[in-house]
Structure formats: C-alpha cells, structure tokens
C-alpha cells in the first residue's frame, strides 16, 4: 500500500516549492527592520519592551500549539521556558567565560557572542523539548483538569529543583579550578537566580526567532499534523475513529510547544534580567495561558496580538500606579464575560480580509 504522504507528494501543485520559500524574506525582513529602524528610533526603554513583546509572542504562539490546537490544557509552560533559559544561559555564560575569559562582552551585531546565543537557544529548546516528551508521555493519558494540575505540579517541581542548584562560578579561575562536586548539582545560582548573563538578545535575534515560530506555527496548522491536532481538539473519540493516533499527536504537540518555549526562555534569559527559579512558577504560566485564551484558542495571530497587548498594557497603566494590576485583572474578568471566545475566536486575522475570507478557513470548526 502506498503511504498517504507519498500520494500527497505526487499531487502537490506546481510551484509548491517556491510558495514554501515565500515566508523567508519576511522572516529576515521583520527582524532587520526591528533592529535597524524601529529599535533605534524608539529609544532604549521601548526597545526593552519590544524584546519582552517578542519573547511573549513566542511563548503565546507555542503554548497555543498545545492549548489551542490540540485542546489540551497545560499550565506549566513557564517550566519549559525556564529550563530552556537556564540551559541557554549556562551555554553562553560559561561558554563566554571559557572562550573570552569574561561573560560580559559587549555584543556586536552578528558577532561571535550572538551566534553563541543562537546555539544556546537551540540547546535550551532541545532540552525543553526532551522534557516536554518526558512530561507529555505519562501525563497525556490524563484529561482536562487533571492534565492541567499535573503540568502545574511539573512547573512547581522545576522551580523547587532550580532553587537547589549551587552558587554560580563567577570568573575563569573559579571555573577552571572547580572540582567535580561543584558541578553536581550544576552551578546555576540556586535561589538567588542566575545573574550577569551576557545581554546577547538583540531585537534582531528576538524577532528572528519570533518570526520563525510564527511561520512554523502557521505551517503546522495547515499541515496534516495540524489537522490531526485540530481533530483531537474538536472530538477525541471521533478523531480516534478516523485513525488519528491520539497519544502520538498529543505528545508531538507537547514537544513542539516545549521546544519553542525553550527558545523563548533562552532569549528571555539574555535580555538583561536575572533568571530566577520563580520564573518557572505558575504565575508566569498563567500569564501565557491568559494570552492564548484572550487571543482565541487556536488562533495564531490572536495569540500573537494578545501577547503584544498584554505585555504593553501594564506599561500603559503605569500612571495608575498601585491600581495598575487591579485594573488589569478587572479587564481580564470583563473580557471573559463579554467576549468568551477571545479576540479572534478560532479564526486568524487574515480570515477577515480579502479573497481568503470567502474560502473556508482552515480551523473554522464549530466548537462545542
């Protein structure tokens, strides 16, 4: 029997290969524009905010793969993010120490330090994805709320374990003279957090990875895996009847989401913050879940837009000072009551415009 994928290959329309390459200029153009035009124009503080926005976009879009596409409910996303962040930070921090003797080199555009960051992010993403597999495999036998609780517990366990790590090694001599016992558990700063991580995450890298995540998510959604994800969300039993291997696709969704969360963690760690164990706690996971739900479950553009809004909103509310987060929480509750399906529902922003509006959207299923 010919496998379906081979059949699909034969029926691929002419010119499919260049359409697949179409997003590439966009992937490069947006980060370059952000880095060289918008960033310098906006100034230092907005630039930092834009980096936060980029990281939030990656987090929301990746969690959307699990929560939005497959309809599972994970509230341990910050756990994956933090693991990725710690792995990436130890790659660049100790890497910089070993190569240049100092961890606080001034980064230059596409300089060696920034390539180290890219490598660190990939390493962190792989570590997070591995963890996503480990967590996903047993816990995906659980449903709904129980799965949510397990992912919550997972994030908390990561947080506590990170608190037990050893103090950081601060310079090269300390690193070279360290004994084996100083590496088990690894020297990641313990409860104080991982400090003086080099600030390699520039607008270019953040938005490069954000664009990659977005394009990957869009293409995933219209792929056969994506259809399988959506079918699981709509009705698990019907999906199984159609021959969808539910466990396989759930785990796949988890691993993919964890991978991108790991990248986000790597970028977050290098944006000039102290990476602390409490970043793995559920408060941060909640922030991401809120973005996904507010954007509309399964809507990639919705998740991204909600990530932008929810990251900027607290800054805009700064004038209200101590009432800031009260207003934020109040708006959240009001939003849930007034528009329970989120900003875009299951649709994408481009479903509302132009010629695609007439075509049935990829995900416009009726939700129960």
């Amino acid at each position: 029997v010919t496998p379906l994928s081979a059949l699909a290959k034969d029926h691929r329309p002419a010119g499919a290969w260049w359409r697949a390459a179409l997003p590439l200029p966009l992937i490069l153009a947006v980060p370059l524009l952000m880095h060289f035009a918008i960033g310098p124009w906006a100034g230092e503080f907005p630039e930092k905010l834009m980096i936060d926005v980029g990281v939030a976009i990656i987090l929301a879009v990746s969690l959307n793969i699990v929560n939005g596409f497959t309809g599972q409910f994970s509230i341990g996303h910050a756990g994956f993010m933090t693991v990725g962040g710690y792995v990436a930070a130890s790659v660049t921090y100790y890497g910089s120490l070993l190569i240049w003797g100092v961890a606080t080199r001034r980064p230059e555009f596409l300089g060696a330090g920034e390539w180290l960051l890219a490598g660190g992010c990939i390493a962190g993403a792989l570590a997070a994805a591995g963890l996503g597999y480990v967590v996903g495999l047993p816990s995906l036998r659980l449903r709904g709320d129980y799965l949510a609780i397990v992912t919550l517990g997972f994030g908390e366990i990561i947080r506590v374990l990170l608190q037990q790590t050893q103090p950081q090694l601060y310079d090269l001599s300390e690193l070279t003279e360290a004994t084996a016992s100083q590496f088990v558990p690894p020297p990641l700063g313990g409860a104080l957090g991982f400090t003086s991580i080099p600030r390699y995450a520039s607008l270019f890298w953040v938005y490069l990875f954000a664009m990659l995540t977005l394009v990957a998510a869009v293409r995933l959604k219209i792929s056969s895996s994506g259809r399988a994800f959506l079918s699981i969300r709509e009705d698990e039993i019907a999906a199984r009847a159609m021959g969808v291997d539910i466990t396989k696709y759930k785990v796949r969704g988890f691993v993919l989401a964890a991978f991108f969360a790991g990248i986000a963690g790597g970028l977050f760690a290098h944006s000039g913050v102290i990476l602390a164990p409490k970043d793995a706690g559920f408060q941060r996971s909640f922030e991401v879940v809120i973005m996904v739900v507010l954007g509309g479950m399964g809507s990639i553009s919705g998740a991204a837009l909600a990530a932008i809004i929810l990251t900027i909103l607290p800054e805009l509310l700064r004038d209200f000072q101590e009432y800031r987060l009260i207003i934020y929480a109040g708006m959240l509750i009001a939003m849930m009551i007034v528009r329970p399906q989120g900003l875009f529902g299951v649709h994408e922003i481009w479903d509302f415009f132009g010629r695609r509006a007439r075509r049935p959207a990829a995900a416009s299923g009726v939700r129960k």
Partner: protein, 333 residues
C-alpha cells in the same frame, strides 16, 4: 521518638488546615466543575481580617496581657462572615455570568479574580475610624497573640522522655493549646459540614446539583441559590482556616506573597489527591499531604518539601486519576 511525635503533632495541625481549605476547592469543583483559583486568596483575606479584627478589639480592650478567650471566637465569626460575603459577591458577579461558557473561560476568570484580590490586598491600608484600619497592605504584619503561646505554661500536655545519654538534653513533646484549638475547631467545622452535606435537605440539593445540574434544575432545585450557598460555605471554611493559620504562624506576609499561593496550591493538591469533588476525600487528602510534607521535611530534606507534595500529586494522578476516594468518570460517545 520525641522528634517523631512532635512532627506528628505538627502534621495533624497543619493537616487540618489543609483539609479546611481543600474542602472549599472540592465543593466548588464538585458543583461547578472548575478549579477556583481565587480560593486561596479568600483564605489569605480570612487571615488578614482576623489580624485587623483582633488588633481592633484588643486595642479597644486596652491591650490586656492575656486576652480573654472570647476574642478568638468573635474574630473567627467576623472573619467567616466577611469572607462568606465576599464569596457570595465573587460568585454572583464573576462566575454566574459564565455558567454556560467553556470551562477554560471560567478558569481564566478565576485566575483574574485571584489577581484582583491579591493586588487589591497590596493597596496601602487606610485608617477608617477609630484605629480600625482596612486590612491588607504591602507590609508584613504580626498577628497579636489571642491564645497564650508559652510552651512551658500553656501546653495542654507535655510528654518528657528521659535522655538517651546522660549528657544529652531531655527530650519532650509539646502539644500546645494552639495546636489543640486548631485541630478542635477544624474537626467541629468538618463535622458541621458533614451534617450539612449528608444529613440535611440543603446538602441533598447540593449533591443533586453536583451529580447533574440540569436534572436537578428540572426537579425544582434552585440551582443558582445552591451554588451561591456552596460558595459561601467554602469561603467561610477558608476564612476559618485563615484565622487558625494566623494563630499558628502569626507573621502575616503581604497578600500577594508567594507563600500564600503555595499554601493554597498545596491545599488544592490535597483536594485532588483525595478525589476532587469528594468532601471526605478532601479531608483525607489534607492530612495525607501534611504528613508527607512534614515527615519528608523532617527526615529527608527540608528544602525539597514542595517537591514531595507535587510528586505525590503526580503519582496519585497517574495511578488513580480520579484521586483516592474519587469515582472514575466514564467517557461516553
């Protein structure tokens, strides 16, 4: 041995606190099928109202060295009433409009309510009248002692053990008045709840709504009212737990401090481990979690105490996903 018994005493006291909070989680879940993340904040509010009320009353009494025992009772009732009222308001205005919405939305709303309460609690406290300050505030406070807390004079029972070696300190196990009153009041409240749920018409209605909301409504049960009552009951139990907690650990942290959230989370874990939706399971789970936490912290590693709790949670969920006393839900096509 003394060490073991002392840990046991602490575990029972902490366990009854967890059980009280877990009851609120489990009752709400049983009826509305969603995790009420704002529950731990009601517990915090209970502790802070206890602080405000007791400071106020004690100042009015002229700050006696040993406060009369009735103060504790009055404070407890005040805390329970105000938190019950708050529970009613939350249910009426945040959750009721979402009765028909997807569960995820209700969950997000619950998180929103939780954020709202936490940050409202961070507001600077203001003097109302006469030294009565609004509760909360960004600074930690110290709960006044309502019960005598001197382990030598006020313990209900002290057991002494002869020292094993001549030069070692003689060991003793202290069961303090506070521990006894915590366990005592918790048991009384649980007994009342047991009677309410299993012996009254109201309880029968609650169980009916929990079993099947639509059918219950068809049978003439006022669902909205029952849901409200359930919320208020859960909030009152949380308030009582908050009061008892502030007796045992008088240093009150600011309302948004993560230690509170973690406490609430552990109580929630207790509810899940016992079988969420099951009232007796919540009590069992509360004690189980407290035992594992306290004994693990005492005999294995103090720093990892939260890991034990969540590890037990994951283990129980994997082996028996519906919790120890829960009934498994069959999926129907």
């Amino acid at each position: 041995l003394a060490d073991l018994l002392q840990t046991l005493v602490t575990a029972i006291a902490v366990g009854s606190l967890y059980a009280l909070i877990a009851l609120g989680y489990t009752m709400v879940y049983g009826i509305l099928k969603f995790i009420n993340f704002a529950h731990s904040d009601i517990f915090v509010l209970g502790a802070w109202i206890s602080f405000t009320a007791s400071t106020f009353i004690l100042t009015k009494l002229g700050s006696p060295a040993t406060p009369p025992l009735w103060v504790g009772g009055v404070v407890l009732i005040l805390a329970m009433l105000s938190c019950g009222g708050l529970g009613f308001v939350i249910e009426r205005f945040a959750y009721r409009p979402l009765r028909k919405a997807p569960r995820l939305n209700v969950l997000i709303t619950a998180i929103g309510v939780s954020l709202l309460l936490q940050n409202a609690g961070q507001l600077r406290s203001r003097e109302l009248t006469d030294g009565l300050k609004l509760p909360f505030g960004p600074t930690p406070q110290r709960m006044p002692t309502l019960l005598p807390d001197d382990s030598e004079t006020s313990s209900v029972a002290t057991f002494r053990f002869a020292a094993a070696t001549p030069d070692a300190q003689p060991q003793r196990v202290v069961i303090s008045l506070i521990d006894v009153s915590i366990v005592g009041s918790a048991l009384v409240l649980m007994l009342l709840l047991e009677i309410l749920v299993f012996r009254t018409k109201m309880g029968m209605a609650m169980r009916a709504v929990s079993f099947n909301t639509d059918t219950a409504a068809l049978m003439g049960i006022p669902v909205d009212r029952i849901v409200s009552i359930t919320f208020v009951t859960g909030a009152m139990l949380a308030a009582a737990a908050g009061f008892l907690y502030s007796l045992k650990y008088p240093g009150l942290n600011q309302p948004a401090h993560e230690i509170w959230v973690l406490l609430g989370l552990k109580a929630f874990v207790a509810a899940v481990v016992g079988g969420i939706g099951n009232v007796r399971g919540a009590v069992l789970g509360g004690f189980l979690i407290a035992f594992i936490e306290q004994f693990g912290a005492r005999y294995i590693d103090t720093n990892l105490r939260d890991v034990y709790v969540f590890a037990v949670l994951i283990l129980v969920l994997l082996v028996k996903p519906s919790g120890l006393l829960g009934t498994p839900v069959r999926e129907k096509v």
